[in-house]
Amino acid sequence: MKHTIAVQVENKSGVLSRVANLFSARGFNIDSLVVGETEDAAVSRMTIVLRGDDKVIEQVTKQLNKLIDVIKVTDLSSESFITRDLALIRVNAASSARARLLEIVQIFRARIVDISSKSVIIEITGNESKIEAMIDMLRSFGIQELVRTGEVAIARRGGNGGRLLAGR
């Protein structure tokens, strides 16, 4: 099962490598890991998407929490939460194909952020399935390059949103 875990960490050097290291040393697989600042400059937040049964999630959580710099671990997937992923996609865009491309961009509420004689760059924001669907649609045009940020997530309710797995 897919889990989205939010990890609050001290904003210190070495923390990202500690977390990344833990996943490789203990043989846990992750789909994505995103890290960025939060409302508190001393705290960074990681959003980690990983797959595993309850036992794996329990171990991941406990091992994460054992790291001295980890403040709090929350399993967002246990409650309702919002996720967003952003993709930038450069696709072939011969003039004959542009009208059709524009249509797809509009349907997905994406944007064209750059354009040249042979290609366009499309920006799309959304949850994973929306982005996957868009990418599927674009394949037939020929994708030149694709980058994604990985998922960030937030609980819908403030305060105690999500299931607090460890920390206080």
Binding site: A25, E58, K62, I71, G167
Partner: protein
């Protein structure tokens, strides 16, 4: 406060932490610190290899429960401590390892003797720091000692660039450590403790499975003893737990696991309630997990939440310090007798006690350990190397108190025992400290003989000399058709001469009747290390043995030669 250099601040901080002795070796980037040490009254012990320094700090820590300290230079000095750090991490030993580092401006340039030691030690330490500013130094040292010694203890590495040791600051030492992200749980949850008490009262065939956590917890052994007597419980101990309950007492079943006693392994296999305290369900203990205590309910008391339900699903988990939690549990337990269960256990005990076949004219290694136990009245601090020597030291010396056995359980580090014995002897100058060694392991840190001679340490080393990497040979004998690939140690030093070359004493025993005499003679020497070379039966095996992949009740009981 007046301005001092980083080196001075470091020494103040160590003093503030109550550090009595530091083990290590100097080097280029450490000159400033060692100049301060020269001027101070800090006791610094120069080992002959940084691995020796790390294990000595570990041995000091295990013998006392205090944080052991080691201090080494950058690059190779730091990387030489790696095995020592990993050893301490696996066995939860509190240690602070201070490594030198090249000046901050050239970090990352592959400078002379630069190694990314915080990167390298990330997965084998409890935590680590790279100090980039002298202003941080007092806080970092205070945090390092706090983290190393609290919760589930472990090694903390502090990497100190040379310019930080020379920079000046008027900073003060913090009175308290504040870490919002690190707050170990010392007290078990009352509701869980109540559930545990009920389960114990309801059990017909309960067994305690006690590990190193009971030794580490200050009140662990005392409260465990109370519980055992009150509820009439049998105690099986892990290698790391030996001594947490008196091994000479009737309710001790001895060690469980791969080379555990028949009665401990049978009792665990048949129990209806397993009470794990400060133990971690290691594969060397459980054997095949599907067959491990398969009729039992599990209680698990541990200070490390990550240890709980890692390998087996726990019915009643309790996160907390062993001593505190058992203390609370004891208040709820009622006195009872388990006569029927004990009858069965005593039958197992009588049927297959630990033993070995005597052989005329040949010293059996087990006899050496038994004699050491007898002649030290079971009161010595025993360090071990790794291999058969370690298992015989675990089986045939009956530890009576916690912190009597110093052994590398988790990592299984050959070369651990001798430097650990040095650390322990510094911690307990009047105690009899004996390293039970193998002829292979002893060659891995033999250079520390010079350290022991220099400090007139009366450490005894008992080499169970079988001319083999014996434990590996035993597996080759049992599972690889006696194809002894790379396990012969036929080319070996003359141990007696080697000891003498270092300025120590060398003794040798070739016949069973020599054994007590040699040990007694060694015990009389008080001013230098003694190396005893016991020429033992070369192909003796360690038994009982749970074969790899087997369940605990599927032991091979004795060797057929």
């Amino acid at each position: 406060m007046k301005k001092r250099t980083g080196a001075e601040i470091l020494l103040e901080a160590l003093k503030k932490q109550g550090v009595e002795v530091v083990f290590g070796i100097p080097g280029g980037v450490m000159l400033h610190i060692f100049d301060e040490i020269y001027k101070s009254d800090l006791k610094f012990v120069l080992t002959r290899h940084e691995q020796g320094a790390a294990h000595a700090a570990d041995g000091y820590a295990r013998a006392t429960g205090k944080v052991g300290v080691c201090l080494v230079t950058s690059g190779p000095g730091a990387t030489n401590t790696i095995t020592g750090i990993a050893t301490a991490q696996m066995d939860s030993v509190p240690m602070v390892v201070i490594t030198g580092q090249v000046v901050t401006q050239i970090i990352g340039t592959d400078a002379f003797q630069e190694a990314d030691i915080t990167g390298i030690t990330r997965s084998i330490s409890k935590h680590n720091y790279l100090v980039k500013d002298v202003e941080e130094l007092p806080r970092v040292i205070a945090e390092a000692f706090h983290i190393a010694g609290s919760g589930r203890p472990g090694p903390v590495v502090v990497d100190l660039p040379k310019d930080v040791t020379t920079a000046q600051s008027d900073c003060c030492h913090p009175e308290k450590v504040k870490l919002r992200s690190y707050r170990p749980t010392y007290h078990g949850h009352p509701r869980q403790i109540k559930r545990a008490a009920e389960a114990i009262a309801a059990a017909k065939r309960p067994v305690i499975y006690a590990g190193g956590g009971v030794v580490i917890s200050p009140r662990g052994a005392t409260e465990l003893g109370k519980m055992v007597r009150k509820a009439d419980l049998p105690v099986a101990m892990t290698l790391m737990g030996l001594g947490c309950y008196d091994g000479t007492e009737r309710r001790s079943l001895g060690m469980l696991g791969m080379h555990g006693t028949y009665c401990a392994n049978m009792a665990v296999s048949a129990c209806d309630l397993l009470i794990a305290v400060g133990a971690r369900f290691d594969d060397r203990v459980t054997g095949d997990l599907n067959k491990f205590a398969s009729h039992a309910k599990f209680i698990h008391i541990d200070i490390d939440p990550a240890a709980i339900s890692k390998n087996v699903k726990i019915d009643i988990p309790i996160v907390g310090d062993a001593g505190n939690t058992l203390g609370e549990l004891n208040k709820l337990l009622k006195g009872r007798k388990l006569a029927k269960w004990w009858q069965q256990i005593d039958n197992w005990r009588r049927k297959h006690p630990l033993g070995y076949k005597k052989q005329r004219g040949v010293i059996k290694p087990q006899q050496v350990v038994e004699e050491i136990d007898r002649l030290t009245k079971g009161q010595a601090i025993i360090a071990t190397e790794v291999g058969q020597n370690q298992m015989w030291a675990a089986q045939f010396y009956l530890y009576q108190k916690p912190r009597q056995l110093l052994t590398s359980g988790g990592l299984g580090t050959m070369g651990y025992g001798f430097p650990a014995a040095i650390g322990a002897q510094f911690a307990r100058p009047r105690a009899t400290v004996i390293n039970i060694a193998g002829d292979g392991s002893m060659q891995m840190n033999i250079q520390e003989m010079a350290t022991a001679v220099e400090h007139k340490l009366p450490i005894k080393v008992a080499i169970l000399n079988n001319n083999y990497l014996g434990m590996v040979r035993q597996w080759q004998e049992m599972f690889y058709g006696k194809r002894y690939s790379a396990t012969s140690l036929a080319v070996a030093p003359d141990w007696v001469k080697l000891a003498e070359a270092y300025g120590g004493v060398g003794l040798r025993a070739k016949k069973p009747e020599d054994v007590p005499r040699v040990i007694s003679e060694a015990l009389r020497i008080k001013d230098r290390p003694v190396l005893m070379d016991f020429i033992v039966a070369p192909e003796e095996g360690v038994y009982p043995m749970v074969p790899p992949g087997g369940g605990l009740n599927e032991m091979i009981l004795g060797g057929k030669k």
